[in-house]
């Protein structure tokens, strides 16, 4: 059989370029593997299951909220499929700016009450409630409005007081 040089050279060129594309595809994908949530957040699920009612609502960010619903069957004020949620943009805006970035503990408490939240998820990482990434401001959790119910090095859970 005669070796055809041109087709072979073409295939080698395509394979060489493809190697670069393949590496590039893997590099582009790696950031999507970042779990965002912390191991302590998974550890907290056992406490959630034992100490909160099924489908209890938490104030949480999108990643933490979805992690919570998937692992414990509790709900989050934000996170999930937004296709048919009434007032969904206002909801995200409120959790972003009137809760995690609230100016006072009272404003945060009122926002939690507005969305029927019984608990607050306060992880030791940046949170994303729908608009931007922010750190959790622990000073919001004034004992007049919130009671620390659970804590591990990665997450604190506060009860929203009546």
């Amino acid at each position: 059989m005669k070796l055809k040089v041109l087709p072979l050279a073409l295939l080698l060129l395509a394979a060489w370029l493809a190697c670069s594309d393949f590496e590039s595809a893997r590099d582009s994908t790696l950031p999507w593997m970042n779990p965002v949530v912390l191991p302590g957040e998974l550890e907290a699920m056992a406490w959630v299951r034992q100490n909160t009612a099924p489908r209890a609502v938490f104030v949480n960010d999108i990643f933490g909220g979805e992690f919570l619903m998937g692992n414990s069957l509790r709900e989050s004020a934000v996170g999930g499929d937004w296709a048919i949620i009434p007032g969904v943009v206002q909801r995200m805006h409120d959790v972003q700016y009137s809760f995690y970035e609230a100016e006072t503990p009272e404003q945060a408490w009122e926002t939690a009450k507005k969305y029927g939240a019984k608990f607050v998820w306060a992880p030791q990482r940046q949170v994303f409630p729908g608009y931007e990434w922010v750190s959790v401001n622990q000073e919001l959790f004034d004992p007049q409005y919130f009671r620390l119910a659970y804590s591990n090095p990665d997450v604190k859970i506060y009860e929203v007081l009546e």
Partner: protein
Amino acid sequence: MNERLPLAFLLAAVALSLYGHSMVFNEWVMPTYGNTMIHVASARHAIETGEYPMWNDYSYGGGQPNLYVPLYRFLYAELVALTGLSFDLVGRLIVVLYALLLPLGFYLLGRELAGEWAGVASAFLASLSPELLIYTVRPLPQGLGLALLPIGFYFLAKKDLRASVLSAFLIVLAHQEAGVFFVGCAFAFGALEVARAFLAGKRVFAESMPGFAAWGAGTLTYLGWHFFAVRNLDLFALAQFQHHEGAFVSLQLLYDKTGLVLLALGALGFALLAYKALENKLKAPGVFALSALLVGLFCIKNDLFGLQVFMDRFIVFLHVSMIPVAALALKEACSFSGKIDERIRTRLSRGG
């Protein structure tokens, strides 16, 4: 040539796909980007309570019907129930399933379009798309839709009526966007087959039936599900349409999300198919490939037609159309360069 050689290369393509997707095991928990856990919630609810949370979804504080199509969640729950493994491990194993199905599906589709070696090339090219990897390396319904699409397309290109209709049903219930793309391609295929059959003097109804049947089955399936879930058919009331979710697609973005090889070969393949279509030399698989490319281009530029929804999200679906066409282009380029090689040899031997 050894008949087992294509099979050996196909196995290598499967191995490459598995390697590409192996990053799903990188982290201490399965990927969370892209709402992976909301599907786990529905599957877990089904396992723990024995009921699917149809009328009270977990999203955004609950209280709303569960509109998301359910096939992936049912599959997830079944796999957990059958194996007894954790949700986390099953999620990662679902990704392994996608990694296996993708090269095999693209092999079938490429082979139907342009023969055995185009099938093999197609299986390899499936590992080059960054978008395809991003969407199939996470346990998501998108991944299931994308893994089923090449198989559904294979049945359409073959004009297997029953399998095409079944594919439409499954893909639509696996993932909405994949379903939209599949029924769009099926309709365009039916329409182009009407034109081809008319020009060739063939029976128009028989030639176009598989495409139109798959389109009808998929459309009715989704509308039925949507009405069952929310008691209306107002698709444009969905938040994705209302808020125009998605980004505009520029050539630079298309290049970044496609890669050099796939984009160059895809463009060459498109030109080849268009040329053959103008010469009226396309057979049914070629007509299907052209239809799917045109629908893919329409989807990524749907802002030009007033829709403006998910333009960038459809790039990955364009890739599904593009991969077998790129494989066709590679095969044709090799064939053409082989002829040049032959001529050069002939001239050199004459000169010698």
